[in-house]
């Protein structure tokens, strides 16, 4: 997935490559902020997992959430949302549907936006895997929905010890 770049809305839309900094790990999740159950559950567990690490390791981790609902998830809303769970994070948002589709396909993310009238509420169904990407852009770990933070922490310790 290292060849994928997406706009980082929390950094003025600068291109964010889907690979970690040298010696780091980039945690990537595709979701949307109007999702009350699956997304906040996942973000909360991942946030707890990162906070449980020693600070020198925390500094090597970046988190990016890619919104599957750019219509409602403005840059501000997504940035605010992530700030609730993480000290540092990337709010990734593209309004180019083809670019989003290509990025999702690279991660094997599937999603479907419910048909809706403009202005009415709707849901987005999506796979809810959290990915850990290394500096070469290789997905090193996939955490399925429902992973508890202590299991994620132990995976992070192993990956960052390499």
């Amino acid at each position: 997935v290292g060849s994928v770049t997406l706009p980082d809305a929390s950094n003025g839309g600068a291109a964010l490559p889907m690979r970690a900094e040298p010696d780091g790990l980039l945690i990537v999740y595709f979701g949307y902020t109007s999702c009350p159950d699956v997304c906040p559950t996942t973000m909360s567990e991942v946030g707890q997992a990162i906070r449980a690490l020693p600070t020198d390791l925390t500094a090597r981790i970046d988190v990016a959430m890619v919104t599957l609902d750019p219509d409602r998830d403005t840059a501000d809303r997504l940035t605010d949302y992530l700030g609730h769970f993480f000290a540092r994070s990337h709010a990734v948002r593209t309004t180019d549907a083809d670019q989003l589709d290509a990025a999702a396909a690279a991660f094997q993310v599937r999603f479907s936006v419910e048909e809706h009238q403009p202005g009415s509420d709707y849901k987005v169904s999506h796979t809810a895997v959290t990915y850990g990407v290394d500096e070469t852009g290789t997905v090193r770990v996939e955490w399925p929905f429902g992973m508890r933070s202590d299991a994620i922490t132990s995976d992070l310790l192993i990956l960052l010890a390499e």
């Binding site: 902020t33 109007s34 999702c35 009350p36 159950d37 699956v38 906040p40 559950t41 909360s44 567990e45 707890q48 501000d76 809303r77 605010d80 949302y81 700030g83 609730h84 769970f85 094997q108 599937r110 999603f111 479907s112 509420d121 849901k123 169904s125 999506h126 796979t127 809810a128 895997v129 996939e142 399925p144 929905f145 429902g146 933070s149």
Partner: protein, 157 residues
């Protein structure tokens, strides 16, 4: 399930509200406990409440509706997160569906928990903040209304 002190006190409160006293569990013996809601980001519109319902009565009951005060959210609905389409080893899609009723079989405990049933709060009036509490009213087919207090917290208990 860890039956915290809070869980007990909530259980007692609901018991009192539902039955007008805990001595006669004639209306089905439903106990709602361990209610909590996740804190919500400042600009978020949606929230979720989780809890467990134990039916120690002799007949099944069903949760059919839920409501909150307008100072919490404009609407509350019963929802279920369902994992679909995980054939051929691919990851499932997580899909949210409204549900009309959640059966609470007698002698069993039904959990509303992350990734399953939950109370969805829509159009939050204000962010759900840690250490606060919200009041949720559950309506059951037989037991009628039971009000519970949910603790707002950052992380799952």
């Amino acid at each position: 399930m860890n039956m915290s002190k809070l869980g007990w006190s909530l259980g007692l409160i609901t018991c009192v509200l539902a039955l007008g006293g805990c001595a006669a569990p004639a209306s089905g013996g439903l106990e709602v406990s361990a209610a909590w809601a996740r804190t919500s980001p400042t600009l978020a519109m949606a929230g979720a409440v989780y809890l467990q319902i134990t039916n120690s009565g002799t007949a099944d009951d069903a949760l059919t509706a839920v409501s909150v005060d307008a100072t919490v959210a404009a609407r509350a609905e019963l929802h279920e997160t369902v994992a679909t389409g995980s054939n051929m080893g691919s990851s499932p899609m997580m899909e949210m569906r409204p549900v009309d009723r959640i059966v609470i079989p007698h002698g069993q405990t039904v959990m509303l928990q992350p990734g399953g049933y939950h109370v969805m709060l829509m159009d939050l009036a204000a962010p759900l903040e840690a250490s606060s509490q919200i009041r949720v009213t559950l309506t059951f087919e037989h037991a009628g209304q039971i009000a519970v207090t949910a603790d707002v917290r950052d992380t799952a208990p």
